[in-house]
Symmetry: C2
Subunit: 487 residues, 2 copies
Amino acid sequence: MQTKRTTVYRHTDLTRLLHPSSVAVIGASTRAGSFGERVLHNLQHYGGRVYPVNSRYERLGEQKCYPNIGALPEVPDCAVVTAPREAVEEIVVECAAAGLGGVIVFASGYAETGKDERIAQQQRLAAIARESGMRIVGPNCIGVVNAPLDMRVTFMDITPIPAPRKHAIGMVSQSGALGMAVAQAVVRGVSFSHVLTSGNSCDVDMADYISYLADDPSCAAIACVFEGMAEPERMLVAAERAWQRDKPLIVFKMATGEQGAAAAMSHTGSLAGTHAAYRAVFRRAGAILVEDFEALAETAAFFAKARPPKARGVAVVAASGGAAIMAADRAEQFEVPLPQPSDAVRDVLMTHIPEFGSARNPCDVTAQILANPESLNACADALLGDQAYGALVVPQTYGYAPSAKRIPVYDSLAAKHGKIVCLAWQTEWLEGPGVREAEESEHVAFFRSMPSCFAALPRVLHPANATRPGRQRLSLRLSIRGKRRRR
Amino acid sequence: MQTKRTTVYRHTDLTRLLHPSSVAVIGASTRAGSFGERVLHNLQHYGGRVYPVNSRYERLGEQKCYPNIGALPEVPDCAVVTAPREAVEEIVVECAAAGLGGVIVFASGYAETGKDERIAQQQRLAAIARESGMRIVGPNCIGVVNAPLDMRVTFMDITPIPAPRKHAIGMVSQSGALGMAVAQAVVRGVSFSHVLTSGNSCDVDMADYISYLADDPSCAAIACVFEGMAEPERMLVAAERAWQRDKPLIVFKMATGEQGAAAAMSHTGSLAGTHAAYRAVFRRAGAILVEDFEALAETAAFFAKARPPKARGVAVVAASGGAAIMAADRAEQFEVPLPQPSDAVRDVLMTHIPEFGSARNPCDVTAQILANPESLNACADALLGDQAYGALVVPQTYGYAPSAKRIPVYDSLAAKHGKIVCLAWQTEWLEGPGVREAEESEHVAFFRSMPSCFAALPRVLHPANATRPGRQRLSLRLSIRGKRRRR
């Protein structure tokens, strides 16, 4: 359904659209629940200039309202078209003629209906973009969020996204709802720079978004919920670009089966393609694939915090023998080495661990930490100091207030040793004490799932990632690149 | 490490231990952080009589303290021994002589150390139990919780567990920390009747606990975190007993690999056995195995709420096309049929769904529900009324306040049609609005993971489960039973 296009937009091609100094809201309104009202509401803290446009009003609340794009005091960088489908094309033509950088179209009822005239209608939008150089997001999308600008161009009743931290995630998704679903991790402290949804992608698509974020300084990793597209090779170009910039790209691919692929066609008019083909494309480009939607946010947050590894081995320290067993199970499953500590480190562990614990790896300090709370920290310090380990996994089996106080300790220990601590959250108190502290820490990664944690670790700790500053991919990946280049 | 024992205790064998009218706290104390102080604190709302026992005190706060078991005004049903290992054996002998129903031993340092004299020490405890008829829980355990009595015999700083609902889960675990970790789902509204931890299981073990809960009216399903045991056939007997009582048994088996098995030996002195062998044992007995620890609580809660199915098919209704695709993907993966609705139901759906949605199964009402909030409820009602469906899956992609109001609607619709609604929670706001309402509803099951949801559905909806009141197992299971009986 997308127009054939071989190039993938670069950051500068999309800057006016996605990082605008001014936004026009076409179809602005005060009617509660209308798209125009919702967008105006969501833009109230936006760092740029907002221009309500609606010929029916001279004012909207305290704001001046303009009859059309031509009446604005400047040519805005970006406009959002909240009008119904019937009115969209004329507005988009007008915006292109006025020289806007980009428009965002919410209206549905295009290619996703499968009807010929609606497909043609979408193709006309694509042609306007192609011929004018103005970029178009959508149609059939829920918009975009740029956290550094607090620009929320969406009709969703969206959770505000605070200014991004150093380890922020850039989120891209064809499905608006699923992109926003992941981004709601902000509620527990996960940092996001953008939520970019593409809907039917008549012009700007997932590949363009990834390319944009690859060159955007506000995110440290890119998370992607992906259905499919007409030209998978575009995704390869975008993923390559992210890889070149040392920006990890973490992908959840859906529409993996026949039923899902059929649903995707009716959802965003996307060709899902075979799951195997896409996996190959992403792997070849060094992207990290997650098998479960639930693993996306935590895996992306981990990669956003990871540093070049100092060793391939992983240490585990727990106050629960059961959790230590689960860690060992998953290490074996995902082929993560759990080497034993050096004699010197073992001696330190033995001074803190009772005889019925385990001064080995995995290390079990036992429930004795209730009587001796410092023992866990001392063991964590010793293990992080052992050159056999590139990361430390700390299963957290119980949520209670004192747990939260350990997080800054883990964070400073990880920083001191230049390594990362993975908090493997085992309690069903899903947002218990310590979760927010972990998400907000620069050197502590939060995993709700032990399998997700041990699936992600070898991707970061592989020796190939230590040879160059910044993040790299598996040597498997490097050799495939090498082969491709020799052709 | 366990004493060889062929019988599995029945409910009456364990009633005085697990549902006592009186509990003696041996080693009671007011020293902050001590086991004795913590247990007394946790028993403050217990519905029975508490007797602090410690020869060093005449009073503890406002309570009279007794010098020894013999000095109590009655023979208590149960005692908890908070003393260190060196003092345990003498106390246990004294309790047995006094005629107690059971004792719970916290002390560690027995068989899990791997030392011969400690193994012998544990075996002597087992011998006391065997010879006296007094039951012993532990050693090396964190205790037990009985929610109907609000009896919390544990030293953990435990989240209070409210009185169980009709769909309460009985939780059993060798690892105390992991049992409590699952039970912390109470924070979001999951109902539990018991948390029973067994530690080294010198006498009472996991099989006995399961047998007890099979006959206990306060739980509707049993959740089990299991490492391993010396005699797996005991687990088969217990699981059979649960099956006979139509009480679903949901098991997470850990120590699946070599490293994990080694850790299990050092944790509770358990023989992990091969994963495959245990899987066979559990499957043969009709238990439901989950592959991920995170799936245990939600799968058990689902089985606790499930009714005999009216059909094998599943309907999906979402306000997000992306979520509909993910549901279709997982239905295919787990071979759950998603039949199309009848013409009559389809006509109803079409009156509520815009042309760019999908009036099929999976059904996508689209973001139009923002403008027309009732459409989702109307579609849910129509789909639940279609005889092709035994259950309805509703993906929830976004957490915002109005979502919570839909839960009672789903609950009453499910009740009206005698079916279950599964809320597939896709947002990363893990405890957002609606989670508690769903957990507390009798006919709405909460799943944090779409794969867990579609893995569980066919176990409930299989036609074999409709032939007999109450819950049954897969026909696979029935045929295996048949074969076994013919031998």
